[in-house]
């Protein structure tokens, strides 16, 4: 294919599908009990230098607990897929866990404002950056999920987003139209947070899928965090509801409220007060250190973080907020 234009951005993940195939060939397909603690899963599947994918969108159905654990275990030099990375990136930036990033949406928390810590880290020169769009990262993951080295798309063209990406432009052999071709992106390890999974890794969630199915299928290792484990029988009763099949999954970690302080559809709404506290604390490096100590490094696990931030009572409030239940007097904690 004749390359008409070529972005100058780095490509952090090898798009060669035969190399990915050689990896997947030796990955176990046995339907075995894969439940383990999140700390064990991070220890086992996240290596310094790995390319990391985090599911969800911003602070919605995001495996926040996994990000905390990555910090606690002081993982370093990760690559990171920054597709609407908001609170997850804020955490990972606080630990300087990554040193290269595919950017689609970063440093912001949407309408909540910019993360000072993420911004400063990206501006520090310590992080290698490649520019993309949200959909480009979806499509790159989809290419890997399909076992092809690239896919064509029609955005990015004509912009500096393209110039600073690793995409190329080439002519379609059927229509002669110029296309952007984006290389497959295969994270070494990804985390996806779901509502329910069985011990083998069959997983399902409610609400929007964002790019989680592309991410799950593209990733060499996949860790599922779930609000609750269910028996395989529950999954097998409605197999059309399974979105992630067990054979692509390496570990299943039951982490109730694992998306806090983000939103988990039909479970709990985001804790805007606590997210605001993050943004505020970041502005003062010293206060932020204490805050991180209190909320991440000083916690044995994510359950402690939940307990320190209101525990079950607060979760009940956020559940009411999710379902827009106002008033009444049925909750002892409210």
């Amino acid at each position: 294919m004749d390359i008409i234009e070529k972005g100058t951005g780095p490509i952090f993940s090898d798009p060669d599908p035969d190399k990915a195939r050689a990896f997947f060939r030796q990955k176990s397909r046995i339907k075995k009990d894969k439940t383990m603690s999140l700390s064990k899963a991070v220890e086992k599947f996240v290596k310094d230098g790995d390319y990391l994918g985090i599911g969800g969108f911003g602070a919605n159905r995001t495996p926040v607990a996994a990000c905390h654990e990555i910090l606690r275990q002081k993982k370093k030099n990760l690559g990171f897929a920054g597709h609407t990375a908001t609170h997850d990136m804020q955490i990972l930036s606080a630990g300087k866990a990554y040193n290269r990033i595919d950017v689609a949406y970063v440093v912001g928390l949407e309408a909540r404002g910019l993360s000072n810590c993420s911004r400063k880290y990206l501006e520090s020169g310590e992080v290698e950056v490649s520019e993309w769009t949200n959909y480009a990262l979806s499509v790159r993951l989809q290419a890997a999920a399909m076992g092809v080295p690239f896919l064509p798309m029609r955005s990015m063209l004509g912009t500096q987003t393209f110039e600073k990406s690793g995409a190329v432009a080439a002519k379609c052999p059927f229509t002669d139209k110029k296309m952007a071709l984006v290389p497959a992106l295969s994270p070494d390890v990804s985390f996806v947070h779901v509502h329910e999974a069985d011990m083998y890794g069959n997983a399902r969630f409610e609400g929007i899928a964002v790019a989680d199915l592309e991410l799950a299928n593209a990733s060499k290792h996949l860790v599922i965090t779930c609000e609750r484990l269910v028996s395989h029988e529950v999954i097998a009763r409605d197999p059309h509801r399974t979105q992630i099949p067990y054979f692509i999954v390496d570990a299943v970690c039951e982490v109730p409220y694992g998306g806090f302080p983000g939103t988990m559809p039909n479970e709990y709404f985001s804790d805007e007060d606590h997210l605001r506290e993050w943004l505020t604390k970041e502005k003062d490096p010293e206060a932020f250190e204490t805050f991180l100590q209190d909320n991440i490094y000083g916690c044995g696990n994510f359950q402690e973080y939940i307990d320190r931030n209101g525990g079950i009572g607060r979760m009940q409030e956020l559940r009411r907020k999710e379902f827009m239940i106002n008033g009444g007097d049925t909750n002892d904690n409210v």
Binding site: G56, Q142, R154, G207, I208, A209, S270
Partner: protein, 255 residues
């Protein structure tokens, strides 16, 4: 007549652009308020889509995030980013509202960096889905304050395509045909783009503003219609709906 603030004026102006039965890809904040207002006034059948996957929700309140539960509350479908973006790519989405730290005379947007890219003064979020929406949706609109630091001669970084370098440059870029920037709505005026040069052109002035004031708050030379009508002010009905039903918490329109 009720008094109104400039944000209210912009939202009402934007809402009026959304004809009944159109589809619109929106984010949070003012664009979402405009879409909700349109649904409650002239466009009951307006279809709202959110890039993370929400299609046609009954928005119970303003979402905080483009992917929070409200964006697919009682929706027709809670799909994926692929569902939304491929629908946009196929030509199903008529409008989108975007923003940016900088905009140039061709409607190109910068949301990546202020200052030199390699050592930015401020690193901004990047494209997100903006580049995709602007590439795919038929008519891209921007709501932004009229400000010399926003309306610049040259972007520090071209994140999201407008008419690129004007003329036929977008047509020749490989981007989908016949889509591009449509209207720019500021606190002072409404602009479109002159059909041949694709340069930004003032087509109406908001009540109380003159063309010169708009030009003074713009870093490049604006084209203009010979006769500039006044952008119609919000009606009492529009204001009441906006304040009482769309944004009762005054999160976007302020107090």
């Amino acid at each position: 007549m009720t008094t109104y603030n400039e944000m209210e004026m912009m939202i009402v102006t934007a809402a009026r652009e959304l004809e009944n039965g159109a589809t619109v890809g929106v984010g949070t904040g003012a664009p979402c308020a405009a879409a909700m207002l349109a649904q409650k006034t002239i466009s009951p059948d307006l279809v709202i889509m959110f890039e993370a996957g929400g299609i046609s929700p009954d928005l119970p309140e303003m979402p905080i995030s483009v992917g929070d539960s409200r964006t697919f509350y009682h929706a027709s479908m809670a799909g994926s980013m692929g569902t939304i973006m491929s629908s946009c790519a196929r030509g199903f989405v008529d409008y989108t509202f975007l923003g940016g730290a900088q905009i140039d005379m061709y409607g190109n947007l910068n949301s990546t960096a202020i200052g030199p890219y390699d050592s930015p003064k401020v690193r901004l979020p990047g494209s997100g889905g903006a580049n995709d929406f602007a590439s795919f949706c038929w008519k891209m609109m921007v709501m932004t304050p009229q400000d010399k630091r926003r309306f610049v001669e040259k972007l520090d970084f071209l994140t999201t395509p407008g008419w690129l370098e004007g003329g036929d440059s977008r047509k020749n870029s490989g981007l989908p045909a016949n889509a591009g920037p449509h209207k720019i709505i500021t606190n002072m005026a409404v602009m479109d783009f002159e059909p041949d040069s694709k340069r930004m052109r003032v087509i109406s002035l908001n009540p109380g503003y003159s063309f010169d004031q708009v030009q003074e708050n713009c870093g490049f030379e604006l084209l203009r219609l010979k006769t500039l009508p006044v952008t119609p002010a919000p009606t009492d009905d529009e204001l009441a709906i906006l304040r009482d039903q769309v944004d009762p918490g005054r999160v976007v329109i302020g107090r």
